[in-house]
């Protein structure tokens, strides 16, 4: 029993690293993704094209490769980041691209008539976005956002290859040391708890933002 307790405590420490990557990435990705989406929708051609290229690269290559690039390739050109910063950079760059596409679709789903009504009432562009379009976008993006957020939790396990002691790596270390499969089961339970909490949270948000009919 004591042994199990000790194992769980070790794994909770690993979970802390996992959660840190998840929470920081998630918080950064929300505004960055929104700005990238607005940039994609803007009429500034250069910005538009640059973001298109960025999103294409980020979504078209494996996150694992991007992680390795930031971690191993950047130091070769003299950019040496602390481990955690390297991981956060790779995750943020990657997930910003996905969230940008989700936000873009969410904004485009807001009918043209909403902009026209705002124009007639004299709302500025910023007011139109902030008070009319984005609140309706939030409702549109919650379901796909929920999926991507759960993917992010699971993708944090990729930092395993960067020799950071996240939940999965701690589990594997114990398994190798003790020839006992229990840590994998415990890790699975931990991941399930995290994704269950997120699923519940997103359901609450969907209920809140879905209170009005379209």
């Amino acid at each position: 029993m004591d042994h199990l307790m000790q194992m769980v405590l070790l794994m909770l420490e690993g979970t802390e690293v996992t959660l840190e990557i998840f929470v920081v990435t998630f918080i950064l990705v929300l505004p960055l993704g929104l700005f990238a989406a607005l940039g994609r929708l803007s009429s500034l051609r250069l910005l538009n094209r640059a973001l298109e290229l960025y999103i294409w690269i980020m979504r078209g290559t494996p996150l694992m490769l991007q992680l390795l690039f930031v971690y191993f390739a950047l130091p070769m050109v003299g950019i040496k980041l602390p481990d955690i910063a390297a991981a956060l950079l790779a995750f943020t760059l990657n997930y910003t691209a996905y969230f940008a596409e989700i936000f873009r679709a969410g904004i485009q789903a807001v009918p043209k008539g909403q902009y026209e009504a705002a124009h007639m009432l004299g709302l500025s562009k910023v007011q139109t976005m902030w008070r009319v379009v984005i609140p309706q976008m939030i409702r549109n993006v919650l379901p796909p956002m929920s999926n991507e957020t759960i993917n992010l939790v699971k993708d944090t396990s990729l930092i395993y290859i960067l020799a950071m002691n996240d939940l999965l790596r701690v589990a594997r270390t114990i398994v190798q040391r003790e020839f006992d499969m229990t840590p994998f089961v415990v890790a699975a339970v931990f991941y399930l708890v995290m994704t269950a909490v997120l699923t519940w949270g997103f359901h609450r948000l969907e209920a809140h933002f879905g209170r009005y009919a379209m």
Binding site: A117, H119, G122, M214
Partner: protein, 278 residues
């Protein structure tokens, strides 16, 4: 003594002259001159001219695709004209610019001119994530910066006017189409416009719900609101409008008073159109 007795003809001429004089005195609310507009090389408005005076109710009629919506939308810069002049309450809204093109005034000047106009859309275009009351309060508070209590008083008065004060805390999606359209009218009125534009305000409604919206519009006309109404409701045009404009293929085919237009149409196209609407 003899000069005081006028013949009928002289009297009529005199009355017409007086009318014309009155027209001159009345404020031109909307002036559109030589309006041209194409979509991808296809002309949709070909040299449209119109003037609307204070208190006028102009009904714009015409077959589908004749350019009625485009005309109304150009007037409030939801679309841009290619050529011509638009004046609103004596101020230039669109006209020749410094670089030889035609453009609308921008920024604060545009917001100020738009403030004279309220628009009611076929699809209502209420903000679905806001309650009825929030829909009415948004622009007065955040565009006109009217104190909240004052804006609230106006919103309540306008809701009462359209008969929906008990629905103030509902979302648009909880209302019938007719109720939504009346909220849309109230929302426009909360900005105290001088001119109301309507683009087929009842076309998206079930037939049994058009009456309540038309009644609200009729009430506005009775209160001397200046109105431009694109509509297929012939009885409304006949009874409420004081001017009819009939468009086809981007030109004004015929215009006049409802009596002239409905009782004595001059153009073959007008006659055919009226026949088809019987």
């Amino acid at each position: 003594m003899e000069e005081m007795v006028m013949t009928d003809a002289a009297f009529a001429a005199d009355a017409a002259a007086a009318d014309a004089a009155m027209q001159e005195l009345r404020l031109p609310m909307v002036t559109m001159r030589g309006i041209q507009k194409s979509y991808g090389g296809k002309p949709v408005l070909k040299d449209i001219n119109l003037r609307v005076f204070a208190g006028d109710v102009l009904a714009i009629l015409g077959p589908s695709g004749s350019g009625k919506s485009t005309l109304l939308r150009c007037l409030c810069h939801l679309e841009s004209i290619d050529d011509g002049y638009i004046g609103v309450l004596g101020q230039t809204y669109a006209g020749e610019d410094d670089i030889g093109g035609v453009s609308y005034v921008a920024g604060e000047a545009e917001r100020q001119i738009l403030g004279h106009m309220g628009m009611v859309f076929q699809q209502f275009n209420l903000f679905p994530h806001m309650t009825v009351f929030e829909n009415l309060m948004l622009a007065p508070v955040h565009v006109k910066h009217i104190p909240r209590d004052e804006a609230e008083a106006t919103a309540i008065a306008m809701l009462r006017k359209v008969g929906l004060e008990e629905h103030r805390d509902k979302y648009p999606g909880q209302l019938s189409g007719g109720q939504q359209q009346r909220v849309a009218i109230a929302r426009a009125l909360c900005m105290h416009p001088d001119i109301m534009l309507f683009d087929e305000p009842t076309s998206a409604l079930d037939p049994e719900l058009t009456g309540e919206v038309l009644r609200t519009m009729r009430q506005l006309a009775d209160e001397n609101m200046t109105m431009l109404v694109v509509t297929h409701e012939m009885p409304f045009a006949h009874d409420v409008a004081n001017k009819i404009m009939f468009m086809a293929d981007g030109v004004v085919v015929e215009s006049g008073s409802p009596e002239e237009f409905f009782e004595h149409p001059q153009q073959e196209r007008t006659k055919a159109f009226l026949q088809s609407r019987l």
